[in-house]
Symmetry: C2
Subunit: 590 residues, 2 copies
């Protein structure tokens, strides 16, 4: 304490005093506990304990704990301020700062151990560590994460306020090395039964999580636990992973990894609504796992209750329920259920381009199809208003859905459910376009509708499909047939007529969506190299850099961990730190 600078003034309602402890970096949790302990001392009204950044000094000043003229410190100086009844009480409290910091460690279970002071030293102390847990301030986190990757370790990156460009670069580096970066801003993960960050003590089991959301993952995990199921592994991605910029780098790697993991029988994917093109790629990756996958995009309209092996949930409870259902029900398509672990990794040239052309006489059927296909077929445009679907314009490139019953198309003519002529005409046009890969249309039966819509549509369809075959083009047709068994048109005969003409006949939009998604696969030409499955091997061992509680929690769960007594590089001097960092990068590159 001898080297601490100090000051004291009257401020607020009492006597204010502060001390600066140079180079005494502590994490925010330690500081919170110090602050609380100071406030319990006799005569102390309020206390603050922060690292002496400009922003933190402003916060103290706002609370009247720091006079404007107080001497500046460096970012890794510890700044402690108290307001007390009188000067003696304030000084007495500040005199006890080091003692209070020491008390704090008594609860920890590694307090008496030797503490490495660098990541390298930490890894030397626990060479089998496959993971590095990083929770230092965001300004310094990418540097630590980069060092961890360079050392061949996977990274759990709790820190927030990491620049987006750093996230992209870190994830690209991880992909090159076949490693995982969970985060930044990853609150929660479970690896081989051990929780990282904020994690509940849930049973180990057969459901894998991929979550761009910390408390979302916790809620689902607790829901599974309450229903008697557990987590194989839970891989956080960080909240920005499914943005257009990051492109779902971690989610794609994690889905691929869980697809190959023999312990994982079903997957739950949680995120806020992804960027459209990322949603399409991530859902395609989920389908490639071949495992039942529950998708909970918080706040997005579900495209359907179920599309193939994908189930869409609207909340954490439902996500857990659907996952439980998926692992407990034998799947019809399995022989003996033995190939559930198989992951179809498509060859890089297995998909070809082509657009879906949706033509509907029913407005709600068009809207339901747009809602259902929007996350899968990107870009999608429609002349029905559906959130996330572009407005259909002339000359648009992409998948399209046209409601032929829209006011602007029916002026002066009967509704297309009465007269299918406009549908037939546009089907012919769409089929002739070499870029069309799928024709999707509806046929609505019942009183009021045309007496034989299939009979009107089928000849044109037969001809179009034959022409495409003759040209060697892939062209498929899916019809949504809405009708009751007793409808005057004879539903069974209508279905048969459409099938004979070459269409797949679906009895609902949901069923048609599943066919359409199969017919228009997402290109898989830029898949990263797979992550080494060893990352998921038990037992977990980790080197922790940052919040000490995360180290303590890993130990408390019986896993191996070493805590690094980390300090900001260059004493927190950002300019100097940048120079050092550049020098190290050059070093590494040479």
């Amino acid at each position: 304490m001898a080297e601490g600078r100090a000051g004291a003034v009257r401020g607020g309602g009492g006597h204010v005093a502060h001390r600066l402890l140079p180079g005494a970096y502590r994490d925010s949790l330690v500081l919170m506990q110090l602050q609380r302990r100071l406030e319990e001392l006799p005569g102390v009204e309020e206390a603050g304990a922060v690292m002496a950044t400009a922003a933190n000094r402003d916060l103290l000043a706002e609370r009247d704990l720091l006079p404007p003229g107080a001497p500046p410190g460096r970012p890794d100086d510890l700044l402690v301020a108290v307001r007390a009844a009188d000067r003696a009480a304030a000084e007495a409290a500040l005199d006890r700062v080091e003692e209070l910091l020491a008390i704090r460690r008594a609860g920890g279970d590694g307090s008496s151990e030797h503490r490495p002071r660098s990541l390298a030293a930490g890894l030397a102390a626990l060479p089998e560590a496959r993971w590095v847990l990083v929770s230092v301030p965001g300004r310094w986190a990418p540097g630590v994460a980069r060092d961890a990757l360079a050392a061949g370790r996977n990274v759990f990156l709790y820190s927030d306020n990491v620049p987006l460009a750093e996230e992209v670069a870190l994830k690209a580096e991880a992909a090159r090395r076949g490693l995982l970066v969970l985060g930044p801003d990853c609150g929660t993960a479970w690896i081989a039964g051990t929780g990282l960050g904020f994690a509940n003590r849930v049973r180990r089991g057969r459901v894998g999580l991929v979550a761009a959301s910390g408390t979302g993952a916790q809620a689902v995990a607790c829901g599974l636990d309450a229903r008697g199921e557990g987590i194989s592994h839970g891989l956080g991605t960080g909240g920005r992973d499914l943005s257009a910029e990051v492109g779902g780098a971690t989610a794609l790697a994690a889905l691929d990894l869980l697809g190959r993991d023999p312990e994982t029988e079903a997957i739950v994917l949680v995120s806020k609504p992804p960027a459209p093109e990322v949603a399409a790629r991530v859902l395609a990756a989920a389908r490639r796992t071949g495992k039942p996958t529950v998708v909970w995009f918080v706040g997005a309209a579900a495209p359907a209750r179920r599309v193939g092996e994908l189930r869409f949930a609207t909340g954490s409870v439902e996500a857990a329920e659907l996952a439980v259902e998926a692992v407990r029900q034998p799947r019809a398509e399995d022989g003996a259920g033995g190939d559930r672990g198989r992951s179809d990794r498509p060859s890089r040239s297995s998909t070809s381009a082509g657009w879906m052309r949706g033509l509907f006489s029913g407005g709600t059927l068009a809207a339901e199809a747009a809602v259902g296909l929007a996350p899968f077929l990107v870009p999608l445009a429609a002349n029905v208003a559906v959130p996330g679907v572009r407005r259909l314009d002339a000359g648009i490139k992409g998948h399209t859905i046209l409601d032929l019953g829209a006011d602007e198309l029916t002026a002066g003519r009967p509704h297309p459910m009465i007269d299918p002529a406009p549908l037939v005409e546009r089907l012919r046009e769409a089929a002739a376009d070499p870029e069309t890969r799928l024709l999707l249309f509806d046929v609505v039966l019942g009183d009021g509708a045309h007496a034989d819509p299939a009979g009107r549509i089928a000849p044109c369809l037969e001809e179009a499909l034959a022409a495409a075959r003759a040209e060697g083009r892939e062209l498929a047709a899916v019809a949504v047939l809405v009708g009751a068994a007793d409808d005057p048109q004879d539903r069974a005969a209508q279905a048969e007529r459409l099938r004979a003409a070459g269409a797949l006949v679906a009895s609902s939009v949901t069923e048609a969506v599943a066919h359409a998604v199969d017919a228009c696969p997402v290109a898989a030409d830029d898949l990263p190299d797979p992550v080494d499955p060893a990352v998921l091997a038990a037992p977990l061992s980790a080197v922790n850099v940052g919040l000490e509680t995360f180290h303590d929690a890993v130990r408390a769960q019986g896993a191996a961990a070493v805590h690094v007594d980390w300090r900001p590089p260059a004493g927190g001097d950002e300019r100097l730190a940048r120079i050092l960092e550049r020098a190290r990068r050059k070093d590494r590159a040479s």
Copy 2:
């Protein structure tokens, strides 16, 4: 045909000729059939048959079927044009127009009957008719509908292009008279087993539909039929009914009516996403029915899988499945299931104002709560990005959700899951506000989180609830407790501590949403007078004004119907029609 004006020119690829038949109004379906029959005649290349409005004349001109100099007609003149190989073929075709119009009726089953020429005459011919079906052009439809209401009849209004102000006025008039207006732009309804408009032949049953969507209702009805269930009644509302302008007038009346209908055991409500304030009122009306109600807002994110007796579906198949499940499963809360038909109509002063204050440490929990509450608690603002939820601003009036872990609130301090101090502080503030009616907050357990969050929160909560009681204020508290049984904090003890302090403890956001919706009822101070249940009585009888096929279909289903041989008033002269209309209104008022 003697009075028909005619013309002939060379145009397009052949000889073009046309005829004008004054005062020969026909509906679009008849015109389509005439056109098709003309095109089957020898030498005819293309034909057009339209009412001679300016817009229709333009359409013919675009198809090169009408030279620019052709003489104008009046809107109720029938204009027929053909392009044929030569002049003789064109004239021969036009000579057969009346004959072809006559052939058409041979298929109808009322062709030889006397046809009333006005709605009044139609009603005189079928005085027991409770319904008038209106499908005349939108320009004339409100007048016919108004006459029907004035005669004490309910209206099925198929016509589109009816001005919004007319819709509002018609529905207000219907409410005053205890009648229903289904539409405008209502494609589909089922009344007491008879389908109106575009309707499938589905079995009669115990599921009621309220649908702002025609093909949506058809898809759900067919889904129910395929699963062995049927429709009690299906009430279309028109696509704009749930807009802010119309305010759900028909949907609210229909829900109330089906709530009181003894044949209806469950309800399916279909619409595109309503205006937020309308969604809240319509969902409140659905809850008041006391019957299981499946809600399918096409393209909206479901707030949860289930909230009380409301179930949210993502597609037509799921809507049908959920309705089947609802009618087949005995409800736990029923004694012998006997009071399923009861509808709680709240007294007009049963609700008091007050806001929900949501305070969350988990970002995804905050988002899930915002998604879940958005359709119920209006207006709702939050500092998490959720579609349809306003951004939280200082001084905002309404329900609010605050994510305390948001970056802007955690700078320089530990995450609120580690240190619940910010939650405690804001709970105290919110509870002290006399406008607060409900406190909603989360408590997240597990490694990494605070060792005793309930212990930190409970004292403040106890105090706040006691203070509100002392002031005679309604104040409730709901806690979302996310934790596993083995979490270090002891979940059961944490729940008990919160309960002892006066909170309802929910184990998920979905459960909390249900509590919150109960605690913050929507004001029901502007309910319309109930509709007379006689509207749903069997057998259906109706007077049809407009598309003759709708009359034929009603007859084909065995119900009573009379078709009115309707002509536009004042020979289609809009100015004269307006003068006549004003005179009639004065007449009626005096």
